[in-house]
Symmetry: none
Subunit: 199 residues, 4 copies
DNA sequence: TGGTAATCGAGACGGTACGTCTGGTCTTAGG
DNA sequence: CCTAAGACCAGACGTACCGTCTCGATTACCA
């Protein structure tokens, strides 16, 4: 991605964090995840590619998970807040955008890695849980706007629906099915929104 | 005549798989996962606890993931097929049972490990994807029964709803929130089933 | 060496040693040693190539060393007993023949393997020591003939000279220098026989 | 402030070889060879006894043979250069000293191991061959001194005689007969030096 | 003539060691 | 006090052999 052929040593710049090192490390980590997935991701590999010392990494990121999260948040530019005036359409756009975002760039691989890491590292689990809650609030805005419009009853739990949609997306990502046909996703959203009970 | 120096050794029973070894290995693996989670799970550790040789494990389970799946399927006795005559109630029971099942026994930890492993091992990803599809069919039966009763329209995609519910459960499990208040789960199912659009 | 393309299984011929198996095993062992040296030699490899069961090998040869010795003695056709009437010439012929014999065929590799094995297996050490003593007697005949002719004093220790020559040959073999120029070997023998003290 | 959980650990001393580790590894290796011979010698065992990581060993000694040679040269204090004024006496002292040196200390076992290893590892073979050539030059000095005195003709090949004596000693060592009666060794040297041809 | 006994190939068993990789800690030398 | 570098111990990885065991079959020998 970022070409990295600096022939010169990247020495200390004194008693402070060297932004060039941070940059090189995050870039290297992202490239490794994009190229080889979670299996290829190790602190050793990152240090090797970034031409950094392992302690430099450990100094700033206490765990593999912290580095992963930093990489994800740095890359992440996904911020779909569709507002067509129709909640179903908005949510369908959101879901389709999220899965394409994961399927097309390296971010899908990175986020999968974070989830994987969270299954054995409690700190990563906590971070992931917090991150998910935050995203729920964010996504919930779509629904809250519909509530303000009167399209959705006030007693609807926006967070719970946001969680439902996110859970669906996670399931696809984690089983290697992030690349889903749009119609299917639209159908899924339609069922969530319209319900299935015969009127 | 046969000297009995090591009476507890589990020798070969000829050119065929020894069920006692298989048993010991699966049991050891399950115990390790229950006690220490995925972080403590290694082929070495399993071999040590099962008093088996590493090659014996590799002979029958080509990868860590294969062993994990075997352990999960062996333990798994969760087979809720509630049939109260009301689809929402059935699905709520299903979701609550699944999450309790994961929260209370070791199976939650084991399944989390499988998902984690699937993020770096393509074979595990495939196995997980297949397993999920299979479970979807199984869970879909609840909805198909409702369709036969006329409670749910025939054009509803049962598999997609099953996936939605499963995705929700995965999300809770993977963020360490398998232990959820039942009312919340009921509310989630209610929204999925009844929809959120104002009539 | 012996072509071995028997498509049929080599079954038991009753409660007795099957000569076809013995043959196949010794042939396979010799071929492996000739091709890959001691490093490639393992009971597994022999069993594989001979299409024999490991227990069949262990039944008849209690140790790797026993098999090695059997292979060596089966191959060994070196039996130089030159008798030109001149002891120096006889011994030079003997030494040159021995080293060519080792350098040209597989027997050099096999004998090196036996010596190597003898360094960690006491049984092999004993067998090697006995074998060496036996060969000493054999080689000593050359000198004893010279004593009978009156060319060599009666008090000369024939066995000790035989050992000296054998030791020289071993040294060359074990350092990978079995392929020595004949003149050098003649010079070595000349010094041993004629002495070095100024008359 | 520095937690002292494992005060006896031998940590890194920076980006450079830690002499304490080298010391511990060589000592452990020597002890294992002295106690159990070549059969007990494995990198695992050395690492275990030295409380070192295997990679630390592989970092500095690329092969088992390299470690063996280092151990031998470190132990080796045998440096007999007798100078009595009589070449036969000098050589007899040399041979007797060498075999006692091998028979009494661990060095015999170590050197046997090196020879054994050289039979399957080409690098070890080369190292052994070079080492033997070097020792030949060293031992040859005894003979060259005699040549200067005029006791031995100038045309005598000192290296070849040194090789003869060394070969004799190797033969004894490798067959487990390092512990030889001195008279026998004296007789052997006498024959080599005085020749056997009737005047 | 039928039962016993030893053989055969095959291959699984619990183990040990291999040589490599990574984890996380520590120290150095230089800015 | 930071930086790159890299050594340190620890231990998991997946593979190759070790020597032992049991299997089912195949025969020779003996009752």
């Amino acid at each position: 991605m970022a070409s990295n052929k600096a022939p010169e040593r990247r020495a200390s710049i004194g008693a402070q964090r060297n932004p060039a090192s941070e940059e090189a490390i995050l870039t290297a980590a992202a490239e490794i995840l994009a190229e080889g997935g979670f299996g290829a991701f190790s602190i050793e590999a990152v240090a090797r590619r970034a031409k950094a010392g392992k302690p430099t990494i450990y100094r700033w990121w206490p765990s593999k998970a912290a580095l992963l999260l930093d990489v994800y948040q740095r890359q992440k530019t996904f911020d779909a807040q569709p507002d067509t005036g129709d909640v179903e359409r908005d949510l369908a756009i959101f879901l389709k955008s999220l899965l394409s975002f994961w399927a097309e760039g390296p971010q899908g691989n990175i986020f999968r890695s974070i989830i994987a890491e969270a299954q054995s590292d409690p700190a990563a689990e906590k971070a992931l849980s917090d991150y998910a809650a935050d995203r729920r609030i964010h996504t919930g805005e779509i629904i809250r706007r519909a509530q303000e419009r009167g399209q959705v009853p006030a007693e609807t739990d926006a967070s719970l629906l946001a969680e439902t949609i996110a859970g669906f997306a996670w399931g696809r990502l984690l089983t290697g099915n992030a690349n889903s046909p749009p119609e299917e996703l639209e159908r899924a959203v339609h069922q969530m929104v319209a319900g299935i009970i015969r009127p």
